[in-house]
Symmetry: none
Amino acid sequence: MTAEIVSVGTELLLGQITDTHAPLMARILAECGIGCTRRATIGDNMDRLVGTLKGAIERADVVVTIGGLGPTLDDLTRDGIAMALGDEMEEVPEVAEKLRQFFASRNIRMAESTLRQAQKPTSATLVDNPNGTAPGLICQKNGKVVIALPGPKGEFDPMAQGPVRQFLEQLQGGQVIHSRVLRIIGMGESHVEERVRDLMDGENPTVAPYAQTAECHLRVTARAENREAADLLIDPVVDEIRSRLGNHLYGFNETTIEAATLDLLVAKGETVAVAESMTGGALGARITSVPGSSKAFKGGVIAYTVSAKESVLGVPSEIIAAHGPVSEEVAKAMAEAVRDRLGATYGVSITGNAGPTADVDGKPVGLTYIGVAGPNGTTVEQAQYRGLREDIQRRATQTALAQLRWKLL
Amino acid sequence: MTAEIVSVGTELLLGQITDTHAPLMARILAECGIGCTRRATIGDNMDRLVGTLKGAIERADVVVTIGGLGPTLDDLTRDGIAMALGDEMEEVPEVAEKLRQFFASRNIRMAESTLRQAQKPTSATLVDNPNGTAPGLICQKNGKVVIALPGPKGEFDPMAQGPVRQFLEQLQGGQVIHSRVLRIIGMGESHVEERVRDLMDGENPTVAPYAQTAECHLRVTARAENREAADLLIDPVVDEIRSRLGNHLYGFNETTIEAATLDLLVAKGETVAVAESMTGGALGARITSVPGSSKAFKGGVIAYTVSAKESVLGVPSEIIAAHGPVSEEVAKAMAEAVRDRLGATYGVSITGNAGPTADVDGKPVGLTYIGVAGPNGTTVEQAQYRGLREDIQRRATQTALAQLRWKLL
């Protein structure tokens, strides 16, 4: 069973707002075992709406429209669906009555166009909308299903997650699609793919790689009767991948590298402090984005200037003078100093040049040193990142977390 | 002239990631005076890709694809475009050589599939990608244009905003739609709307409000022969809005509150240092995300624990003992201490409870104190934020920047 999603609205089409409903609807369809094969976004234009709907209805079993159910003249979805399905429009008297009562009870004059929301294509049943005036629609005709949902988030979310999900589960009558994401660090997408290429030929589960900033994800997806049965298909493939990638696999699904590293620290009863120059606090911010980070995070120093490195952190001025602030020696001294000052098991430092221009010492954009000081001494890694300032900063914090995790393993 | 956008990627289609590139591309097309009539999202499936591309090429003058240019087997866009246009594929020797050099210079073995990125459809010219390995494509054939851009944000954004925008402007050569975004802080969307309601009835330029996290944007959009003529229409409306909103208007277009505040500091030859508890470095990270921030940012202390507040920052322990770490008194002491330690004109502090649970002292989730210490004394603002941990942290840094700006004005 396949589905297509059609988002309707000129403000969506022109990019004035970002569509988060269609991704949610696609996930709901997948969880109900219905493969979404195509999504489209069109403006408030009747010809294109009807054309797009006809194509979608022809190709897919289920078509879900989002938006365009409001009361104004540019809300075309109800009429568009009727035209695409060859339906007439009819008024639902109970809905018209409800709308009149709704406005009367609030002492607001009802615009005449509001009553358009009481109309429906003849093949439609209504989906109750407790949070708004426009009901949703489920049309069933000639073996095809067209579902129409309103655009406002407070109306869309409960209808999509509630009655529409229920309807789709029953319609599908069985299979679900369930995924697990494996998060991999310290190994590029092509190399991950080389090691698991044979597993990518599988049909159930499937294995697919996704490159992320300085990490890589593998999504293992199974189709089965229910989530538990899908997990039984996924488990052995995950075990096989784990045996091939070892410690490069750091977590599953929504687990970030900061959360995985904090978990390791907490499990060992150890703590970390950070000394950041180039990243200006971004490493600390990533660590403290994890709920409960206070169990292992002591804090740190944003040693953005030379004087901050010397006065607050206590890096000897002769080291900075001899090697420049962007150097292996300063990274080492920063990591050791912050570990010492804050009494943490580990001190992590980042110093580098995030750009956009070479720094005063002529150190090139992207050159970065990352230090980790711990009970068994200090290591410093040199890296040369490319990209925009924010990419360089992101890669640096990512590498710092990966380095700390590596020490903890 | 019309355009369609085709986003390619199973992870997009299934809603595992939200597409922010297509909205940006739609805005760029609009600004170049090219009407986007349809957007589509499809997975990594060659038949559907080619079918969708053929339909788009038939209907529209310009088709822009996003994603699927990477090195792996599921990156199909290059080949899909060639098939849709009836082109052959050919290798570009200079790109292949660049790729080999790139990997050699980093001492990384190049996966064989990487060389797919050196291939192009015969009708394509390449768009240089300074931030990644996959070049973009501009194919021109039979009066139609197909543009292919890579998916990673750090590669997509500069290419779309740079050479592709330039190409589209030349291609269109007629009317442009040009916008200016006015960024407003310290005033909610409905109050902004009340003050500019009459201006929202205009047709050229139009004025539309958009709510953002702890700020509000007004988009003023004009249609004219060229960008300069559009600016002449926009200018008087912006002047009128400015006179009504005063200092609440802090910047235009991409100017963030951190950039606006840094500009003020640099203009006055003043500096700032930060002392962060609850936000763990996020305020420093926002400030240092601005290129050139070292001109006014001294650094700071991530005083996440009580001991860090006392030992590194020097907040007297009796103040913390008397009032608890989340208190007006501690915010004041933190701001003053960091100003002093780092020798900055201003010290900004944030202490609060970002959740998810009430803290050890029973301070409720979201309670936050923001201090600003300066030459004329110290002020502390108390706030009670709602939302998730990340929302609370974001609102706190937003307010801290707004408070500092207010002091500077």
